[in-house]
């Protein structure tokens, strides 16, 4: 006996971000860009490395934003795609001598394919069921990487060491600084492409599927195609992030890519604001720096402190950094309105 549910009155599981608000205004974007370009000139190498990781995780969170915030599919498995990207890059560099820059598109394509394939069986799952499936993928990956069959390629439990590239053409900058600018360039390219993707017809198809899958298919949208496409794109970007991560960290090992990474990326997406692409960098900052802050506050209770800080964030801004940006925008709007009156 089946239970009949009125789908029309169901609220969508992922709330929609209005298209206008999807990115920062030109002014704010330019300021952010200037800050990102200038930052490494004033800090030590280790901080530059952290900034590079900031960009890399922001990319991974962005990918998740496209998948969940864009097409409404929930994934706790991004760490698997990240790992595949990282290992693809490492294996190409160390076993086949491929130039580091060329490993990125390969990692992207391989992960796109992997994500697209995973998207197929995932078509019949949604919500908590999809969460479980992606969770399974995330827990399986480290174990698969440790398997004896692949050890010749993957280096087994120890993993592989990756050589960090020097700045090309003899440019006068450290490896860290070069890698930072390289990552920044890749990130900007991916960010702009993602924004365009979400504004394009495909993006609208994603969002239609997110908001009401039945209506979307009734409108003629090939739901299966777009859902798997979303998985593919998201996995591809995560794979590129993983490849960059491998180069930045200089090694790959199975236990670096556990479910903890997947959960962290999820938290990054929520803190940044689900579906709000600019928030990805805020989310990334949260997952990189807040655990360190927590440990600084109390070594024994670092987990509890992290949890408390996370609660504080979600109590104050349940919609993440996007909410902060909206409030800021409203305040600036009010200030602008008040100015002519002040002149009297």
């Amino acid at each position: 006996m089946s239970a009949i549910q009125e789908a029309v009155t169901d609220a969508p599981a992922v709330e929609a971000v209005p298209k206008r608000a999807m990115t920062l205004s030109y002014g704010t974007s330019l300021i952010m860009l200037a800050v990102l370009i200038a930052a490494p000139l004033f800090v030590k190498n280790f901080i530059i490395f952290q900034l590079t990781m900031l960009l890399i995780y922001a990319l991974a969170v962005l990918a998740l934003n496209i998948l969940t915030g864009g097409s409404g599919q929930f994934s706790l498995g991004q760490s698997a795609f990240y790992a595949v990207g990282a290992y693809t890059s490492a294996i190409l560099m160390e076993h086949a001598g491929v130039n580091y820059a060329l490993t990125l598109p390969v990692a992207g394509v391989v992960c796109f394919g992997f994500g697209f394939l995973f998207g197929q069986p995932a078509l019949r799952l949604s919500g908590v069921y999809l969460a479980l499936a992606t969770f399974a993928l995330a827990t399986a990956m480290p174990q698969l990487l440790k398997l004896g069959y692949f050890e010749h390629w993957t280096g087994g439990v120890q993993g592989l060491v990756v050589t960090k590239p020097d700045a090309p053409f003899g440019l006068p900058m450290s490896q860290d600084m070069w890698l930072y600018y390289f990552t920044l360039a890749v990130s900007i390219a991916i960010y702009i492409s993602s924004v365009n993707l979400l504004r394009s017809r495909s993006g609208r198809a994603f969002m239609a599927i997110r908001d009401n899958e039945i209506a979307a298919s009734a409108m003629g949208i090939d739901v299966a195609l777009y859902k798997t496409l979303a998985f593919g794109v998201s996995a591809g970007i995560t794979g590129v992030a993983g490849a960059l991560g491998a180069i930045a960290v200089q090694f790959v090992a199975p236990d670096s890519y556990t479910i903890t990474l997947a959960i962290s990326l999820f938290l990054g997406m929520v803190v940044g604001g689900v579906g709000w692409l600019p928030g990805s960098i805020v989310g990334s900052a949260f997952i990189i720096f807040v655990p360190n802050i927590a440990e600084g506050i109390s070594k024994g209770l670092s987990g509890a402190v992290f949890g408390v800080l996370l609660f504080l964030v979600i109590f104050l801004v349940p919609h993440g950094a996007r909410q902060v940006a909206m409030v800021a925008q409203q305040l600036i709007g009010k200030l602008k309105k008040n100015q002519p009156a002040n002149r009297n």
Partner: protein, 237 residues
């Protein structure tokens, strides 16, 4: 006679959008009133405002008690039953469980059991299907179930939101006959929001017409039915 329900300067908001602009009306005890209006005029919002399901300012008084500020479930406990748009049946539960839910706030077990029997008398088709999942019932049957569930509360006031929606005309006629019976025999005050003006005006004794969040006309149902503007806009002749 002070009205049973008194609505004064009611404004309602969905987020930033204002849906009701200072509504004023009253319902006398024992009356059967219909609220007519086009799509988007604010009919559903009015009912939701009475049950505090939407943000409001203004005052709503029911038998002397102020409703604004009370939670929906507390308003219901005062004796107001609301049959929402779309019926709101618990589709995963059986017909009988739906009826039991209607009476969930009552303490008199024996009264509940006898009331369920009375509902089966009013609506024989429900008795036939009493162990069936509510979601498998047809639209008309679900509407009857929704009304029956509301009656299980032994309400003093019953609010119905577009009960004719999606139902065949013959079924609507049956349903409205039953509503009339309930109003006269069980002394339940009824407020029916309807788009189907013709049948609603035949059933009711009083009518209000609402347009863009304001009451624009009020009076006896027959008066309103004979009003030229109403005939042109809502009755089609």
């Amino acid at each position: 006679m002070t009205a049973m329900l008194n609505v004064r300067d009611l404004r309602a908001y969905y987020g930033q959008v204002q849906a009701l602009h200072g509504l004023e009306f009253g319902l006398n005890e024992g009356s059967l009133t219909t609220l007519l209006g086009a799509n988007g005029a604010g009919k559903t919002t009015t009912l939701r405002a009475i049950c505090n399901m939407v943000r409001t300012t203004g005052s709503i008084e029911f038998e002397g008690a102020l409703l604004t500020g009370r939670s929906t479930e507390n308003i219901v406990r005062l004796g107001i039953a609301h049959v929402p748009q779309g019926r709101g049946t618990f589709t995963t539960m059986t017909v009988e469980e739906n009826l039991q839910l209607g009476a969930i706030t009552r303490k008199d077990k024996a009264g509940v059991v006898s009331d369920i029997e009375r509902m089966y008398d009013h609506f024989p088709v429900l008795k036939q299907r009493y162990t069936q999942q509510a979601g498998t019932l047809s639209g008309g049957e679900q509407q009857m179930l929704a009304v029956a569930r509301a009656l299980m509360l032994r309400p003093r006031l019953m609010l119905l939101d577009e009960p004719s929606f999606g139902l065949a005309p013959l079924i609507v006629r049956d349903l409205f006959k039953i509503l009339g019976k309930i109003n006269r025999e069980d002394k339940v005050t009824i407020l029916v929001v309807e788009q189907n003006a013709q049948l609603a005006l035949e059933l009711a004794d009083k009518a209000y017409v609402i347009e863009t969040g304001r009451i624009v006309m009020s009076g006896n149902a027959t008066e309103i039915a004979n009003n030229e503007d109403v005939r042109k806009s809502y009755l089609g002749y």
